[in-house]
């Protein structure tokens, strides 16, 4: 890869533990525990995993809604992970975010014009110019510019998410972090928003970090995918490799757990059903975080933490002592 647009290194986020009845803080929770990846301009990286795996926390640290405990975030050649909010501001225009719940991420007391132009006003644009741009953005995301003076509740869920996307595009960003952008939407509307995001990427050359728990949607939109478990990336690589021939047992189990909308295919499938639930990041197991649920776990997995290493050809990496390598991938 040429100079990546975004380069994340050893990102860690520790939250103070919840106070118990004694009033003393509990053990710190390592929500994100050493995440590294690169993302090129115009590319999409899918960040998948189950609840509590740290995928949203990672996304929030990249846009600095959360400050990293340690590690670096290099965006467009500048280390932004440790910048003050004031110094960060000039970079913010190139780095935007789309949230899961379109209604709670739009101020109900502001008109759509105001919501979409807010980032422009913050960046110093004039009111007239911002309003005109808001109209253009409405059109770009498939809404009617005449509706600029309406309020969020007058729009359906899918339309409200389009407003959220329009707002994120107001400052012509290079990178959009989309945190579960379609999971609150109805199936029939999901596809509209996915198509819109793909179309905008092509037109505007955007890069996305697409955070989602829905593996089918991520497969659809991303070029590369990172699978997270307990705050770490357990597998990362090109979509075709990770989905077609997963190396980490967790990736395999995750993919096999997704129900297919086809009764015949469902019956014919070999499914790996994992035991138990994901462990709490407040009390992670020793060694490989996945070992208590892993069908392949051995003694070594209980004591020694596996590092992300290249598996097979094609550059895909997996953090597993016993990765699956089937044929030549």
């Amino acid at each position: 890869m040429a100079e990546p647009l975004l380069s994340v290194r050893d990102l860690v986020k520790t939250f103070a533990g919840r106070r118990g009845r004694t009033g003393r803080p509990g053990a710190p929770v390592r929500a994100v525990d050493g995440v590294s990846f690169d993302l090129g301009a115009g590319e999409t990286l899918g960040l998948v995993g189950e609840s509590g795996c740290g995928k949203s926390t990672t996304g929030r640290m990249i846009v600095r809604l959360l400050d990293p405990t340690s590690g670096t975030v290099t965006f467009d050649g500048t280390e932004i992970g440790g910048l003050s909010q004031a110094r960060l501001r000039p970079h913010r225009r190139h780095l935007q975010m789309v949230f899961q719940d379109p209604y709670s991420s739009l101020n109900p007391r502001q008109t759509v014009a105001r919501i979409i132009s807010e980032p422009l006003l913050v960046q110093g644009a004039g009111a007239e110019e911002a309003r005109q741009r808001a109209g253009e953005l409405m059109e770009l995301v498939g809404l009617i510019p005449e509706h600029l003076d309406r309020y969020p509740h007058e729009f359906s869920g899918g339309q409200a998410q389009r407003i959220g996307i329009a707002r994120s595009l107001a400052t012509s960003p290079k990178l959009v972090i989309a945190d579960e952008p379609v999971s609150a939407l109805d199936v029939s509307v999901q596809a509209q928003v996915v198509n819109l995001m793909e179309q905008l990427q092509q037109e505007l050359g955007l890069a996305y970090v697409f955070i989602a728990h829905d593996l089918s949607v991520v497969k659809r939109v991303c070029d590369r995918v990172a699978v997270m478990y307990l705050g770490r990336i357990v597998e990362i690589g090109d979509k075709a490799q990770v989905y077609g021939n997963p190396a980490h047992p967790y990736t395999r189990a995750l993919l096999s757990a997704v129900p297919l909308p086809d009764p015949a295919a469902e019956r014919a499938r070999e499914r790996i059903v994992l035991l138990g639930d994901p462990p709490s990041p407040a009390d992670p197991p020793a060694g490989c975080g996945f070992h208590p649920r892993c069908p392949k776990a051995q003694q070594r997995c209980r004591t020694e933490r596996p590092l992300l290493e290249v598996v097979g050809t094609g550059g895909r990496q997996a953090a597993c002592h016993f990765p699956e390598v089937q044929g030549v991938s």
């Binding site: 109805d186 199936v187 593996l215 089918s216 297919l260 909308p261």
Partner: protein
Amino acid sequence: MALLLEVEDLKVAFDTPRGTVRAVDGISFAVEAGRTLGLVGESGSGKSVTSLAVMGLHHGATVTGSIRLHGQELTGLGERELGAVRGRRIAMIFQDPLSSLHPFYTVGEQIAEHYRVHFRAGRKAGRAKAIEMLAEVGIPEPARRVDEYPHQFSGGMRQRVMIAMALACEPDLLIADEPTTALDVTVQAQILDLIARIQQDRGLGVVMITHDLGVVARVAHEVLVMYGGRAAEQAPAERLFAAPAHPYTRGLLDSLPRLDDGDDAPLRAIPGSPPSLLAPAPGCSFAPRCARTTAASAEEHARCLAERPPLDRLGPPTAGHLAACHLPLVPEGIV
């Protein structure tokens, strides 16, 4: 006859300040013992309202039509008579187990509560039943965990507790309203397997309400697709997925990104959004979003917009395939 639940022309309407909402507007279905009916639809399609009506849990709603369990009519029953059925013969589990469990009582007390009421059992027998049920739903160390509180269980374990509670009175019918939507996929697989196992063991009839067509494909024998409070299509699962006749069903399947598909072509999204139930259109409620309506001749187009399509049989009577559409897609191959 092994018909467990028969629902006929069920209508549920709510009076709101902005007018009457016909949340469910005339749907019929039946569930046999040991079988699973998948009730599919998007938000506002009426699927949850249907299930609550079957449970008699609607306050302030006008419910008409017929709901029969083992031939016994449930609509019009008083609270006391309904109480003997609810929780005993029909049990229900919900999407969010944490908000359905009482935080101040142990899971054992909650599982035993219904059992003790319906079977007039004592504290001791109730506790024994709770331990037995926890073991049946796969909770390790049931004798210890019976005395724990809901917050001490993980999301997947809480849903198991809900299932234990639902099954303690040995109901004939289980209504599961999005039981795995709040769970992670690996845990979802466990819960779906558990429900299937218990269904086999006990010959339970199941109504599985979900928006996830993958879940339906995995568990359902029959499927009812709802749209705007009405049935769009009803068919055995195999047939529905292989040869959907209603353009809405087809559209739902086409708009899904799939793990087992290529992903080069754009998703075929359904334009627009689900209809308002406050002011239902006179014709087919899907017509404004329907590609077949748009492509139809002026005459057919007008009919879709003006005339509500009846739920008609498609293919041979044995196929059990119904669709409410003026312009159904011809089922391929198996007509």
